[in-house]
Symmetry: C2
Subunit: 199 residues, 2 copies
């Protein structure tokens, strides 16, 4: 398969890439690294990426940011950071990809446990994760030509636990192997419209 | 209690108002009807509403729209209709309301079954519902002064079944009494951070 991985050099993306490149052709996309640079907050930039890459069998997004800030300090514009990046960035990768994805291909998006199990300051990111989860369920049900769409929702991943663990009191870090397997399941498996929770 | 109801003349809002006005002071807010007019897509308009109303004990939002369109025709800007109205409109009613809500007061927002059980054309609305559900869980956990926040998520309501039922094949209409009770539970009960599903 020819697979685009957006965020291929990130904490999760690098491990997913390492596994999938054993048996597939990977095009690494990043904001400043990888084979192709793309600004996921720009629909134009996403379209330009697809024009360079051409038809693909699978697209994975493991990228996107949102504002972390105590709720008492959150203002409207803080939400739009995540809306433009992790939320509509992922939605737009699917929208622009509708004409580039091959029959029976797949999209795999990334959210996280904060949609349902918040930590201090995660309101903006939780909202985005909830939006993308529901987008995934909904869009998958209307896909054509056998195209599938799933969302991987990891908990705190072990590779981030040293740096971020103190912000996630009592959260059990999940092994990177299990997280990578969720992407493998989405890309190489048969299911669609699934929120693959790795908690 | 002094209760603001945004969308007080809508299908759901009118019935919620009829029940709660039996024992509370209700300020009806609508886009073109009610005691006060407010444009929920504008933070300024929401702030202006609060300035006129002053301190309140509860705020209910049963309003907001999003684009219904087959996924194959959906474009980026279609999503922003719902983002600005039903999604950030509800978020902004809470953000602007932080300084107007009394100790131990409550916010009650509205989503719906389409976040998890889509119908044809509901991608844009489902995304918004998922976002507001996760916002509710997250923001409730960081509320101060005993302020609570819940989200009511109704299925197809019986009052809309004649008009909309054909778009919801196999959905079981829910009685308006149960939907109204969900708002009563949120406002007069003790729970917070709950997605009150009425399916």
């Amino acid at each position: 398969m020819k697979i685009v991985i957006v965020g291929a050099t990130g904490t999760i993306g690098a491990k997913v890439t390492a596994e999938l490149e054993k048996r597939h052709e990977i095009i690494k996309v990043g904001s400043s690294s990888g084979d192709i640079q793309m600004d996921m907050t720009s629909y134009e930039s996403i379209e330009k990426m697809y024009k360079r890459v051409g038809k693909v069998d699978a697209v994975i997004v493991a990228a996107g940011s949102a504002t972390m800030k105590p709720f008492s300090e959150l203002e409207e514009e803080d939400f739009y950071v995540g809306i433009k990046s992790k939320m509509m960035g992922q939605v737009n990768v699917v929208l622009a990809g509708r004409e580039y994805i091959n029959d029976n291909g797949s999209f795999t998006l990334t959210t996280g446990i904060l949609s349902e199990d918040p930590i201090k300051g995660s309101v903006g990111l939780g909202l985005v994760n909830g939006a993308v989860n529901s987008f995934g369920i909904s869009a998958a049900a209307e896909m054509k030509r056998g195209v599938r769409l799933n969302v991987v929702s990891p908990g705190l991943v072990e590779d981030s636990a040293a740096e971020l663990g103190s912000y996630f009191p009592g959260h059990n870090p999940v092994t990177m192997d299990k997280v990578v397997n969720a992407y493998v399941k989405s890309v190489e498996g048969i299911r669609t419209g699934e929120i693959i929770k790795v908690y």
